[in-house]
Symmetry: C2
Subunit: 478 residues, 2 copies
């Protein structure tokens, strides 16, 4: 007997095949379709509206913290990409190369930006002269291209949308503070808007950004127990400044290198919210970033007065929430399924009997509960309820992560945890890259981060058994 | 003796060399810098903030008229670009080609989108099946690449930012109405936000978009008398639908081709506003899209209480206008020059004597007038004044255009007008492309549009002298 159930169209159950469930949801909820070049994506209206809500909130916070938006070019000359050694080694293998413009073959190959450090550095080296020019706090919303071998919508695609902040500071301390501040901004947006709890920490040297001194990260856990890096913030120190000769005259008249950072989040956040909140009926969207927070479904809409009342209700609620109405000629049951697939936080049912009683029925997507609400109270109750749902989604995800987090003391325990309860594994590490490599090769588990909140869960490295240096979160990851 | 004057840095006078004046303003007002690949541009914070204000208003109107934002890929396979014959002929010569991904040479070349018709068509052919799927009203904000030989910041660049709307409709009438509606939206934004008067009309077949039935346009006139096409809206009819097999089942159960449109405006609008409103002291930004509408300049700011009062004023005005304060240690004269170069609509001066009198001095950028305003009235007066400035800028531009518009009846009059008062030339045309070609070859003058508001200024074609069909606006153009 097939485990599939009949919704708008059937989707695979997540317990059966999580990857297929994900693909089904992404397609059925009309978030994304495939572009004609392998690995590229078309973000459809519903998916893009979600991105707009995430983007607008993050953009607000980026500006509030003193940053300014700019727009840098898509194209980088090959010679410019090669200026910082570690950086080019990290990115050159996955770059798309433009070799012809119109009919003409180019003298130098041009790379489609995989990230824009070298462009900002080139600009800063020209624009920064004195301490008065610092700090430079720039951000851009753009598309980047990375020639990935295997791709999945939102999670890993040939082209994706993101924001990339690039800053230059007079001192190491300022740059460190910036790196930490932007990680906090990311954590705020991911926790309080996407309702996904994060672990804040630092990447190991093996996992850090190509060219960075260190990389800070927020790590999240998906429903299937795999981790997903949700945002990163890099401290560059003076590495790029030395390669690009970005210096300033300090107050004492001495030439100094600037200290730089960069930080980014991408459309993969949408992938994260699908895999954290979704269920076998489809998507579940946190109210604060939901394009439609409440969908009104008229019941027996052919009866006199029902549709009028439903439209009145929509107008009444327009100033307190993002409300839409499904007045199509589909059956209510079909509309309900669609509401569930799309993950609208609540569905509001209004029919002849409700109208008689001056009430509506509100059905929550997160836990399926229903409540009757008087039309006199709904303008107060709906926003309140949306906040309850927002909080509940976060708490559910938090609980789920707790259940899926194990403490492991050695490789045997790690293997057992991987089999019995895959998720985050907290374990002590000696700090040796050889151990990290071995764990990755043997189990496909990678270090996610060295969390800011350190605990001592044992004395010895889970891999080599030597004296442990620090606690690390480990997991298989997207 | 040099005609240059000493401002923040000197800029060339527009009467001396308009092109150099433009370049100077663009650089000195810190709107844009050059990217490392020829013809690409870095839009700096001030320029980008201006774009954000234009974008946000246009985006609001695009959504209000029922369109939804999406995000389509940057890359187009060569075979897909070639599907519509006229379209590929128009665009292939100026396309950037990706031939390598990472280390691997691609089996098929990939084009960096110069525009996205073929991507939307490919998607629509998959998604549109029935009349219930129509209309499709999609828009995207994106970057596109055109391999132009000669480039200038904002006006013509290898890569630029724009929005492109792509719609599909059941009937020809609906598509026509859409094409006209979006031209009206563009006209509204350009006239009421950028304060630039437009001529609405239709392009001749020679000047229309590659693949369109017809192209509607809004044409504007720059300070030097050259025209600039500020936005276009194209009716495709069923041309693309036939090439891409985009059909739907109508209510009678018959397969029909969809009727399509596309429409776009770009960052060149910023170029237009520079060349319409700017003067020899720099930029002049219309208040409604000005990132900074009022700059507060404290006078004798070292004196006790001045800076405090200036900051209080900024806070007081924050809810009625976009207000900033220049509390740097530069001299007031220097700050004044900078205000003029940047084109802030007003400058607010506040010094010890003003504070004593409970007033400020407001200096207008558009006409240099100054007025004293009581601190009790400023919250009402400032927004009022900004609207007066907005209206005045439009009126000035309107007057200027009127002065620079000639009626010409033959080629001699056209040549004289070109020499003595270059600008728009209104003249009758027989409708023959041979005349249009000849005018272009002999004088570099192109047909700008066949205006919706037709007049009969003579009986015969300005070029061949045969019977005239319609009135055309002619000009040299950017």
């Amino acid at each position: 007997m097939s485990k599939k159930k009949q919704f708008v169209e059937s989707i695979t159950e997540m317990e059966e095949d999580f990857a297929q469930w994900y693909t089904d949801v992404v397609k059925q909820a009309e978030l994304v379709d495939y572009g004609p070049v392998r690995g590229t994506m078309i973000i459809e209206p519903y998916g893009f509206a979600m991105w707009e809500h995430i983007r607008d909130e993050l953009d607000r916070q980026i500006k509030e913290t003193g940053h300014k938006n700019v727009s840098f070019p898509l194209f980088i000359p090959e010679s410019l990409l090669q200026k910082e050694k570690d950086h080019v080694e990290g990115f050159a293998p996955e770059v798309a190369w433009v070799t012809h413009g119109g009919e003409e073959e180019l003298g130098e190959r041009i790379c489609v930006r995989p990230t824009s450090e070298v462009l900002f550095c080139n600009y800063y080296s020209d624009k920064i002269n004195s301490y008065r020019d610092l700090p430079k706090l720039y951000n851009q919303w753009s598309n980047v291209v990375r020639w990935e071998k295997t791709t999945r919508p939102f999670l890993r695609s040939l082209e994706f949308l993101w924001q990339e902040g690039h800053t230059a500071h007079a001192t190491h301390e300022e740059a460190e503070a910036e790196t930490a501040k932007m990680l906090d901004v990311y954590a705020d947006v991911v926790e309080n808007y996407l309702a996904i709890p994060v672990i804040k920490g630092r990447k190991t040297d093996m996992e850090k950004f190509a060219g960075a001194n260190y990389t800070l990260t927020i790590e999240t856990l998906m429903h299937d127990g795999q981790a997903l890096q949700a945002g990163t913030s890099h401290l560059f120190g003076t590495g790029f400044a030395e390669a690009f000769d970005i210096t300033y005259l300090d107050k004492e008249g001495k030439q100094q290198y600037v200290h730089q950072t960069s930080w980014g989040i991408t459309t993969r956040l949408i992938g994260a919210l699908i895999m954290v909140h979704g269920d076998n009926r489809g998507l579940v969207v946190p109210p604060r970033i939901a394009p439609t927070q409440a969908m009104i479904v008229p019941i027996a809409q052919h009866k006199e007065g029902v549709l009028d009342k439903a439209y009145d209700l929509r107008d009444q609620l327009a100033s307190v929430a993002r409300v839409d109405i499904d007045a199509s000629d589909k059956m209510p049951g079909w509309k309900f399924n669609e509401c569930e697939m799309k993950g609208y936080p609540v569905r509001i049912e209004i029919g002849p009997r409700d109208i008689e009683k001056n009430q509506v029925v509100i059905a929550r997507r997160d836990n399926g509960e229903k409540e009757f609400v008087s039309l006199d109270d709904i303008e107060t109750r709906l926003p309140e309820l949306l906040e309850e749902i927002q909080a509940n989604l976060f708490n559910q995800a938090y609980e789920h992560r707790a259940t899926k987090t194990s403490i492991v003391k050695n490789m045997d325990e790690l293997t057992t945890a991987l089999k019995e309860n895959p998720g985050f594994m907290k374990a002590m590490w000696c700090g040796d890259e050889a151990c990290e490599e071995k764990i990755k090769e043997d189990t496909s588990v990678t270090s996610r981060c060295i969390p800011f909140e350190q605990e001592k869960v044992s004395d010895t490295c889970l891999c080599c058994g030597k004296e442990a240096k620090e606690l690390v979160y480990w997991a298989r990851a997207y």
